[in-house]
Symmetry: C2
Subunit: 188 residues, 2 copies
């Protein structure tokens, strides 16, 4: 049971974003920019960063949600499963693996991101902005994971829930649906 | 030396917020709402949450910046020093101590926030919104601390730097100074 009174039909982050809309607006905006904005990293790569960090923080809701979203974007589920256990074994470029390792270190703590890890990414062709965005996306999911679990929100068990949520995140991104689209929200 | 090329005269978070203004805008907005917006928690209490979390994450820049800001708001420096070593020894209300303990647990991880810690705060009079905001502020500073240290930004050694920064954060909050106020920025 959540630590505070949240709407029962809105599990995980969804109830929190409805609970306090003034804080939700900039959180949604930041996430939309980092995960869906113009970027040389693909949306799939960015969802893998979210998956690796959420998995490291053992946040069930966020791990399932972002793995399902990465799967929908990549068109397969092997990669998101791989990066959760062993980044190096995934069928990804050296640059993406190096960036995911930076994200994994960032999940542990800011100081855990070593110069060697950054140099590996740079050597594989990562730009300053890509390194920056990887660290900031990792930091953002450290926020999300603590927000979601720190208030003991509910994580549905059914994979169908996350597949549906992923469909929404692929189609609409992280912005709140504008007023007048309530019929869409109800369907989700 | 930072992992990416940042303006040398802007240490810690300040250079990062200038580096990528599109992500900086919602980060500033979220911080302004949570730390300076209308709230039953005082601005001093909210800066103490930031201090406790940054200290737990061993982020030198953020700890010094928010301790100095708390000091400026509280008019004394004993409380911010106390909460960094032993929250219970600080001259604070039972409610504030209970909320700071929640923040400290949230710094460790979302799942570390126990029902007992939340019940202590509630028993001392904390509302759902206060508990929510405490967890979210703690989560936000887990983002900041990882952002600042994950990119190896520079933390000035001089206390004067942080006192000046604190003066700015007390006077102007976390919003970016609007264009036309460059003379103010230069003074800071």
């Amino acid at each position: 049971m959540p630590h505070i009174a949240l709407e029962e039909h809105l599990p995980g982050i969804t109830g929190l974003l409805e609970y306090r809309k003034d804080s939700a607006a900039p959180i949604r905006e930041l996430t939309q920019f980092l995960l869906r904005g113009p970027n040389t990293l693909t949306t799939g790569e960015r969802e893998l960063i979210a998956t690796v960090v959420s998995n490291g923080n053992q946040c069930r809701f966020c791990t399932a949600a972002h793995a399902a979203t990465a799967d929908a974007l990549l068109g397969e589920s092997e990669t998101s499963a791989c990066v959760r256990t062993d980044i190096e074994s995934a069928a990804l470029s050296e640059k993406t693996k190096a960036l995911l390792q930076i994200a994994k270190l960032g999940q542990q703590g800011g100081k855990a991101v070593t110069t060697a890890a950054v140099e590996r990414a740079r050597h594989a062709g990562a730009s300053d902005v890509e390194i920056h965005d990887t660290v900031l996306i990792a930091a953002l999911f450290c926020l999300y994971n603590r927000y979601v679990d720190g208030l003991a929100t509910v994580a549905p068990a059914s994979p169908e829930f996350y597949a549906k949520l992923a469909g929404r995140l692929v189609q609409n991104g992280y912005n709140r649906l504008p007023q007048g689209y309530d019929h869409l929200r109800r369907q989700q």
